[in-house]
Amino acid sequence: MTAPAPLAWYLVLSAVLFGIGVVGVLARRNLIVVFMAIELMLNAVNLTFVTFARAHQSMDGHVIVFFVMAVAAAEAAVGLAIILQLFRARATVNADEVTTLRW
């Protein structure tokens, strides 16, 4: 078991993480947790980028991950501000209690 782990394993792991993230986004009521699940998905994708960068010996994957991190930071800042404001207005952070945008 001292042989290096095949790169495909990393990809499978990232698929699993992504799947867990999807379930989190869909199944949890708490919007903050939903948000965290989104971060989980982003990280799963980051892992694939780094894996492919390793496989193709290219730095491009790393650069993309760098960008994903920056975008995730921006997204977290704005998203959490929105949740904060939502909580002030509705006293809730539950996704299924905020359904104003419907028919």
């Binding site: 999807v22 986004v25 869909l26 199944a27 919007l31 939903v34 996704a95 299924d96 905020v98 359904t99 104003t100 945008l101 419907r102 028919w103």
Partner: protein, 630 residues
């Protein structure tokens, strides 16, 4: 022989920068426009002189073609094999035009300083003027027809803006629209010509066209060769911009309202665009004798018709406007009979003396507090001596009095009609007739304005001489009008085109021309100074003809009847019947269907974030499944 010359772009850029300045900073600080506006054009003029001198210094090598300066700014469009650059070329033809445009343009700017001094929209005026000069320079310097067309349209836009400059007066706004719309007709024709060129040669570059033009003469389209068709279409554009039959109606209207200065910039520069374009593409027109014949005929007829109308006009600027149309007719006559050099020569001299006349008329109007009716002037030579003397030079020059500039250029054209490469003797005769008419109506204008009794209202009008910023350009132009005939424009142009050198005009013709000029002027003197009652009697005697001429051959009415009214009727039909019933029906029908579907489908929109996310997931799964399966 092509030499790179990066200075060329600055000729265009400087007025463009002036335009930007006047459009932004100038609006807040109009005084700066007084410096920047004329300064930019003056600087462009200086650069133009420098580059033209450099061009002159180049020797045309054997087989390399005539010398030419070229400045590639950047590749503008590249689509498949077709490409178009923003690039400028300076050769003998464009050199002449660049000097005329920047030089005359500069004088007009200086003159405007005085004329527009009290206008509240001072900066806006210079904004338009600078933009106009920019567009005109693009037109003149363009090394391909697409860029030329940009300038062409830019000039059209500026003419619209300038004619409607005092848009508070509705007549001006209408005149602007008329100019714009009439020009659109011509432009459409021009664009069609360009399309044909691209379709059959795949290029709009002047140099490449020259190489490929031959193929156009061989292809037949219906009864004519492709070259003829292209030339006629291009000439259609020229009739719009250069105010020829049938599209000349906008130019006189353009004079009706706004400033003589803006009117002048049309007369001296923009209207020459058509003639310039034909000269530029003469290698193409040379292949289409039929088209040349059409051009010659239209030129001659325009000259004649416009001259007859000019005789019966009372408005000083309208006389000059029709005179412009008439002189442009000469130019096209020259082009049509193949004496390109003479035609371009006339463009130059005409720019001088028509510029002078317009500015003089402007000076008169300025001194008369906006009065434009010659019936209400008279005896002004005592009040405005400077204007009087310079106008005298201009009048003599345009009438073709020997040894002044107009004499040379006009005679070369008429001589060309008899002796040129594509002679049309009948048109030569018309040329002579128009020469007499020209001398007569110009004499009429001159004598009505400056001689005779003072017919204006002394209580309200106190004629005064104009300021030096207006008189200065007048003097400069007067000198140029007087000695402009000494320029060897035809020689330059012919050398460039590589055309047959024109024969020297026979001495008999020169004498005849001189005599006709004096005949016309003399008749005018007799009718308006010696026997002032004569015109009244003549008008009464030939009442119908007089009214026909005064109403400008009723062309506007004709167009109204055959074009405008049917169009209105069609529009009415569309608005009353087609739009409400068919178009609205279709639109509302689609909307109703969508609305009904939406009322069903909107159940899907629960407003729950996670339901939306679930639909994401489904989509992602479908896509992913597709990729994995394949």
């Amino acid at each position: 022989m092509v030499t790179a010359e990066p200075l060329l772009r600055w000729i265009v850029l400087l007025p463009a920068l002036g335009f930007l300045w006047n459009a932004t900073v100038g609006q807040r600080a109009p005084r700066t426009s007084a410096v920047v506006g004329p300064g930019a054009v003056g600087a462009a003029f200086a650069i133009a002189i420098v580059t033209v001198l450099r061009l002159h210094g180049l020797e045309g090598g054997q087989g390399d073609g005539p010398p030419m300066l070229h400045d590639l700014v950047y590749r503008w469009i590249e689509v498949g094999p077709f490409h178009s650059d923003v690039a400028f070329r300076l050769d003998a033809i464009s050199a002449i035009m660049v000097l005329v445009v920047t030089g005359i343009g500069f004088l007009i700017h200086v003159y405007s300083l005085g004329y527009m001094h009290d206008d509240p929209c001072f900066a806006r005026f210079f904004t338009y003027l600078n933009l106009f000069i920019t567009a005109m320079l693009v037109l003149v310097l363009a090394d391909n027809l697409l860029l030329l067309f940009v300038g062409w349209e830019g000039v059209g836009l500026c003419s619209y803006l300038l004619i409607g400059f005092w848009y508070e007066v509705e007549a001006n706004a209408i005149a602007g629209k008329k100019a714009f719309l009439v020009n659109r007709v011509g432009d459409a024709s021009f664009v069609l010509g360009l399309f044909l060129l691209v379709q059959h040669t795949g290029t709009l570059d002047v140099a490449e066209l020259q190489a490929k033009a031959g193929t156009l003469a061989g292809t037949m389209v219906g009864p004519m060769t492709l070259a003829t068709l292209v030339c006629l279409l291009l000439f259609g554009g020229a009739t719009g911009k250069s105010a020829q039959i049938p599209l000349f109606v906008w130019l006189p209207d353009a004079m009706a309202g706004p400033t003589p200065v803006s009117a002048l910039i049309h007369a001296a520069t923009m209207v020459t665009a058509g003639a310039y374009m034909v000269t530029r593409l003469y290698f193409l027109f040379d292949l289409a004798p039929a088209a040349l014949a059409v051009i010659a005929w239209i030129g001659a007829l325009t000259a004649l018709v416009a001259a007859t109308i000019a005789i019966a006009q009372a408005d000083i600027k309208k006389v000059l406007a029709y005179s412009t149309v008439s002189q442009l007719g000469y130019m096209f006559l020259g082009l049509g009979v193949g004496v390109t050099g003479a035609a371009l020569f006339h463009v130059v001299t005409h720019a001088f003396f028509k510029g002078l006349l317009f500015l003089g008329a402007g000076s008169v109007i300025h001194g008369m507090h906006g009065e434009q009716d010659m019936q209400k002037m008279g005896g002004l030579r005592r009040h405005m001596p400077g204007t009087y003397w310079t106008m005298l030079v201009g009048t003599l020059a345009i009438s073709g009095v020997p040894f002044l500039s107009g004499f040379y250029s006009k005679d070369e054209i008429i001589a060309g009609a008899f002796l040129g490469p594509h002679p049309q003797p009948l048109l030569g005769v018309i040329g002579y007739v128009v020469a007499v008419l020209t001398a007569f109506y110009m004499g009429r204008l001159f004598f009505l304005t400056f001689f005779g009794e003072e017919r204006f209202d002394h209580h309200h009008v106190h004629p005064h001489e104009s300021p030096w910023s207006m008189l200065g350009p007048l003097v400069v132009l007067a000198v140029l009008s007087a000695v402009g005939g000494a320029l060897d424009v035809p020689g330059q142009v012919n050398h460039f085109i590589g055309a047959h050198h024109e024969e020297a005009t026979p001495f008999g013709m020169l004498v005849l021309a001189g005599a006709l000029a004096f005949l016309g002027l003399g008749a005018a003197w007799y009718a308006y100074v010696r026997e002032p009652s004569l015109p009244e009697q003549a008008a009464t005697a030939a009442g119908g003809l007089y009214r026909f001429l005064r109403d400008k051959w009723r062309v506007d009415e004709l167009y109204d009847a055959i074009v405008v009214r049917p169009l209105f009727a069609l529009a009415e039909f569309l608005a009353r019947i087609v739009d409400p019933d068919f178009v609205d029906g279709a639109v509302n029908g689609i909307a109703d269907v969508v609305a009904w579907l939406s009322s069903r489908w909107r159940r899907l929109q629960t407003g729950n974030l996670q339901h939306a996310a679930l639909s994401f997931l489904v989509g992602a799964l479908v896509l992913l499944g597709y990729f994995v399966v394949h």
